[in-house]
C-alpha cells in the first residue's frame, strides 16, 4: 500500500505494551482537538476528541490528555495490538473556525 508519510517519526512497541503518542499544537486559541488513525491506503478515522475545558478524556483503550500550559496533546493506547499499527494524527481548531490544522503524524508499529 502507499505510504502516508515516508518521513514520519516512528514509535515501535510490542503487542500488549501501552503506547503514548505525543503532539505539540500551535495555536493557544485552539479549543477543540481530535486524534485520527490512518491505516495504509485509507482515509483518517476518528479516534477520540477533547475540548479545552477538559484535561483528560477516556475512550475504549484510548485516553487523550491535554496540557494547555505547554500546548501539548497525547494519545495513550492501552494494551496495544497489531491492529493498532497505523499513522496517528492530532488536529486542532477553535470554535467558529471550522478548519482543522493537522500535525504531521506519528507512525505506530506494533510487533506481535
Amino acid at each position: 500500500g502507499e505510504s502516508v508519510g515516508l518521513h514520519l517519526p516512528t514509535l515501535s512497541v510490542q503487542e500488549g505494551d501501552n503506547s503514548i503518542i505525543n503532539c505539540a499544537y500551535s495555536n493557544s486559541a485552539s479549543d477543540y482537538f481530535i486524534w485520527y488513525k490512518q491505516e495504509s491506503g485509507k482515509g483518517p478515522q476518528f479516534i477520540i476528541d477533547i475540548r479545552s475545558n477538559m484535561d483528560k478524556r477516556q475512550g475504549q483503550r484510548v485516553t487523550v490528555l491535554l496540557n494547555k500550559t505547554v500546548k501539548h496533546l497525547s494519545l495513550q493506547i492501552a494494551a496495544t495490538q497489531p491492529g493498532d499499527s497505523a499513522v496517528y494524527f492530532c488536529a486542532e481548531t477553535y470554535t467558529g473556525f471550522q478548519k482543522l490544522v493537522f500535525g504531521t503524524g506519528t507512525r505506530l508499529l506494533v510487533s506481535p
Binding site: 502516508v4 518521513h7 485520527y36 471550522q98 500535525g103 504531521t104 503524524g105
Partner: protein, 114 residues
Amino acid sequence: DVKVTQSSRYLVKRTGEKVFLECVQDMDHENMFWYRQDPGLGLRLIYFSYDVKMKEKGDIPEGYSVSREKKERFSLILESASTNQTSMYLCASSFSSGTETGYTFGSGTRLTVV
C-alpha cells in the same frame, strides 16, 4: 454513522486531462473540505465550502476548482491535470454544534497523473 463517500479509490489520468473527483456525505453536514496528502507534507487544505454554492480557497488552491450545487455533494476539479497533482485526495465533512465538530473523512482517492 456519518458516511463520506468518494467515488473512486484509484484513478490514472493523462497530463492535460480535466479530472473530476466526487464526494458525497449523507448526514446533512454544512461544511465540506478537500485535502491532498503527500509524504512528508501531511494534509493540506485545497478548498472548502460552508454551504451550497459557497466555496473558499484553502492553502493550496492553485490548479484546482470546486463545485457545490447540492448540500451533500462537493466536487474537486483539476482543470488540466499535471504530474505534480499526483497525490492522495481526501474529502471531509463536518457540522458544528456547541460541543462537537463531527469532522469525518472519506476513504480517499489516489490519483496518478502520467
